[in-house]
């Protein structure tokens, strides 16, 4: 194994970065162990991060649409006063499953799915680290999401809010199995989320292309690295709290029962210690998309790379210090609240820093106004507005008026849709050519953007006013004499426009998949490594893997300094590099495709779902899990032989 750094011939000609890919691809017709078996077996056993990532993205988008349908039903119910279309029982399930769906089975998994697909490509890796774990994470996530929606369809969906406050969700007031489905969904998404986070961190730390030092990593990779660390630190808190809820409900512990020495507020502390960082787990990847899109469409490297990286890290730290601002109306000590006010305001500074860096980049750049950039401009408008209402909510006195009103509904949608979904749609338009090899249609893209932008603001801006006029959240109806009717109708009409916009997107994707313009390796003439390989990338991504010497490898002379030779394709081998400087360290043989992750995920899901009904499921259900895991890790004789042979040769 050598790293050829002398390849002067590889230095791209100015503007001719596509030639790098052209030069390398003829090399790559043998994918060996990277390729999947054909047919159904290949489909269910694949561990290629691109295939898993694609279905992860598709599934998360499906749950986004499903959650959107629930929102549409709620807007239908609220569009006029005293409406009796939907009763309280169904309405409570709708908003609970909407929130749970959007937070737990759309937003975080979608961002992680984008990481599964793009992080390995951006760092020049041949696959994601622990690819079987990623396959397992996907299946577990899919089964969890299906369980949630099955419960809703069977009219036993959770109905205590996505935050499931005790005692309302506890054994005494949350009757039936509804809150158990909620708590077990959390278990599913925790397992999946933690596994993806661990894989992403490992990929970023150990599988980067030689020469890609930490300070040459694309900003999206930084954003997802920071997000993954947040996942690792925040999810244990919700894991503990949801498990305690299950125990309260299933075996009669009293963690949250004040009558038996438990504490109802304990739930809120533990939930928001996770819940607030979760908002940033959704938001930071969005910032990562923006940091990739802005330089490409301003035709210059981003201004303030280091400032942006430090801002991401600062946001992650601060995000763990704000959770009490969800609890200002409870009787936590007043002095303590002021610290959380200060922390909640300070977190605006890293975000402002990034905004200023992007504006500076655009200011000094050459603007290419395509749909991805349009979505970024929409992001600016909506996110800044949402961020400013966030500062209002950080102030204790004002929060006391605004907390749990429609003002907060407006705020959180401005932040999450503006901060994450707009950049995500920008990212769809930006990377769709990489994933499919075809461009999305630009005209439909503009329709998509403008309908979304206008519809969103019409739907959510009036909610600020409704909140100030006293409309609380989570009400299934309101009386006509409250005067809230007209603005609610406007909001519902806005929601219709948003639905139209998402339909335009779906049509655009469906059309472009079949008859979009062929994209080539690098249609935007962007700077990062994912554009150096074919669109869509072949199994194993890079044949051979590249070595980089610059932060914008495809824009700078000598950006790609050579390629890695001497790695086998069968068994699939990758180069492990050192953490800081990405110096070549050793050769790693990747695992091969197998169906055991799927079987293990099925066993795990059976355990999780049955334990809603009986604690004995944990005992008996762990046996199939153990069996499938043992089979998964059982060494294969033929593979061992291959490895040994390879070692002898080298």
């Amino acid at each position: 194994m050598t790293v050829d750094t002398t390849a002067g011939a590889l230095a791209p000609e100015p503007g001719g970065e596509a030639s790098v890919a052209e030069l390398l691809t003829p090399h790559a017709r043998r994918f060996g162990g990277w390729a999947d078996a054909p047919g159904v077996l290949g489909w269910i056993s694949t561990i290629d991060h691109k295939r898993v990532g694609r279905r992860f993205i598709g599934t998360a988008f499906g749950f986004f649409v499903a959650g959107g349908v629930l929102a549409g039903l709620m807007r239908l119910q609220l569009s006029r006063p005293d409406s009796s279309l939907i009763g309280p029982d169904l309405y409570n399930q709708l908003f609970t499953v909407h929130g749970t769906s959007m937070m737990f089975v759309f937003a975080v998994p979608m961002m992680q799915a984008m990481a599964v697909y793009f992080v390995p490509l951006m760092v020049g890796a041949r696959n994601i680290a622990f690819p079987r774990l990623i396959a397992y994470a996907y299946w577990v996530y899919l089964f969890g999401g299906l369980m949630l929606y099955s419960a809703l369809v069977l009219n036993i969906g959770p109905d205590a809010g996505w935050f499931s406050y005790t005692p309302l969700a506890g054994p005494q007031y949350g009757v039936g199995k509804r809150s158990d489905f909620w708590a077990q969904l959390i278990t599913f998404t925790e397992v999946s989320g933690l596994l993806v986070a661990v894989s992403v961190i490992t990929t970023v730390f150990k599988l980067r292309a030689p020469g890609m030092t930490l300070n040459r990593m694309p900003l999206f990779v930084w954003a997802l690295l920071v997000t993954s660390f947040m996942v690792v630190f925040a999810l244990p808190s919700v894991m503990m709290v949801s498990t305690s809820l299950i125990l309260d409900r299933l075996v009669g512990t009293h963690f949250f029962n004040p009558a038996e020495g438990g504490d109802a507020l304990l739930w809120q502390h533990l939930f928001w210690f996770f819940g607030h960082p979760e908002v940033y787990m959704i938001f930071l990847p969005g910032l990562g998309f923006v940091s990739m899109i802005v330089p490409t469409f301003a035709r210059r490297p981003v201004f303030g790379y280091v400032a942006i990286v430090l801002s991401l890290i600062a946001t992650a730290f601060l995000a763990f210090g704000l959770w009490v601002h969800h609890m200002f109306a409870t009787n936590v000590p007043e002095l303590g609240k002021s610290f959380f006010t200060a922390a909640s305001m300070v977190i605006a500074i890293p975000t402002a820093t990034q905004l200023f860096c992007w504006i500076a980049t655009l200011w000094t750049g050459r603007i290419v106004l395509r749909t991805p950039l349009l979505f970024v401009l929409g992001f600016f408008f909506i996110l800044v507005l949402g961020g400013l209402t966030g500062i209002m909510l950080a102030a204790v006195p004002l929060d006391l008026q605004l907390h749990d009103t429609f003002f907060v509904v407006a705020h959180l949608h401005y932040v999450l849709i503006g901060g994450a979904v707009f950049p995500l749609f920008g990212a769809f338009y930006y990377w769709f050519p990489k994933v499919t090899g075809r461009m999305l249609d630009e005209t439909l893209g503009r329709w998509n953007f403008w309908l979304f932008f206008v519809g969103f603001n019409v739907a959510f801006f009036p909610m600020h006013i409704l909140g100030l006029q006293g409309m609380p959240r989570r009400v299934y109806t309101y009386a006509a004499d409250t005067g809230w009717g007209p603005l609610n109708l406007v909001a519902s009409l806005g929601a219709v426009v948003v639905v139209a916009s998402v339909l335009v997107f779906v049509v655009n994707v469906a059309r472009s998949c079949r008859m979009g313009v062929h994209a080539g390796a690098n249609p935007w003439h962007a700077s990062t490594l994912e554009w150096a390989t074919d669109s869509p990338p072949p199994p194993g991504n890079f044949h051979p893997p590249l070595a980089v010497a610059r932060r914008e490898p495809l824009w700078e002379r000598a950006g790609v300094s050579g390629f890695v030779e001497g790695l086998a394709n069968d068994p699939p081998e990758a180069l492990v590099t050192t953490l800081l400087d990405a110096l070549p360290h050793h050769r790693l043989a990747f695992p091969t495709p197998t169906i055991w992750p799927l079987l293990a995920a099925i066993a795990t899901s059976v355990l999780f779902i049955s334990s809603i009904f009986t604690p004995w499921a944990v005992v008996w259900g762990s046996i199939p899990v153990a069996i499938t895991l043992i089979a998964w890790f059982w060494p294969s004789r033929s593979e061992t032989r291959k490895h040994v042979r390879l070692e002898r040769v080298s």
């Binding site: 503007g15 007031y173 004040p258 210059r300 409870t330 500076a360 200011w363 006029q469 914008e552």
Partner: protein, 323 residues
Amino acid sequence: MDEGSALSALVPAGPQAAHIHTLWLVMLAVCALVFAAILGALAIAMRRAPCGDETSEPDTSMIGNDEPAVRRAVTFGIAASAALLITLLVTSIVIERALAQLPLRDALHIRLTGHQWWWEATYDDAKAANVFTTANELHIPVGRPIVLTLEAEDVIHSFWVPNLHGKKDLVPGRTATIAFRADAAGTFRGQCAEFCGYQHANMALMVIAEPPERYERWAAAARTSAPQPLEPLAQRGQQVFLQSTCAMCHTIVGTPANGRRAPDLTHVASRLRIGAGTLHNDPVTLSAWIADPQRIKPGVHMPAHALPSADLQALVAYLGTLK
């Protein structure tokens, strides 16, 4: 909402809400300014930068070089943001102190308990005989501070009367207090602001601020036992009340009915609304409510009563005497 009743955080009727309203105005002004500045900068950037297309040669000349003018502009932006945030933080803390400094001399103490989905209010007094209980409507004297002691019987609720003050949660197993004052007479609508189950939407609380002398008249009346019915129809209604399931949950002081599971009805006829703000209080709505509360407020803990219509009429007539 009833004629003249108010529900808005933007129309303060007391010092606490007024302080918060001041903070709102400061925040709104600063945030509008910042929004305009950032979007303005973005608009200028988009206008002044030349247009290109995908094939435009990327400008890499700044790699490895400082961009002092841009760096200064970004630094200025960050410094200005920090300065504004500190201003807002200080304003917030000043307002918070102002809220905490409401003078509480001669305060009226009320214990407010949240139930699924109604409010129980017990007016405290140094003389035990003067303590009385009512439900879903607070009468308070204008100009006198009110201290509410907040407790919850079942799940978490939140007390919120936007014209008077912000929220305070009622958490089971914990006791919280909130102090406010009404400086103008009026009827202010409050609403449970923490999701509390099926009928969270219909858990309103009316706060009626009135001149002290009128308040005293109301309180004096509220301390009395229920009047004995004089008319035969009402007398029969009382019998219906005491002999059916009503008395198992409701209290009428002066009769054997002393259930604590549901609102005190001693002076129910004097209230504006029934069903915690759900319906206007008149004989028609009242008999519909008694006959089938589940139709009006699905999930409410009051069962339907299949009373013969004569009994129902008598019962409504009796409740109508409980002024």
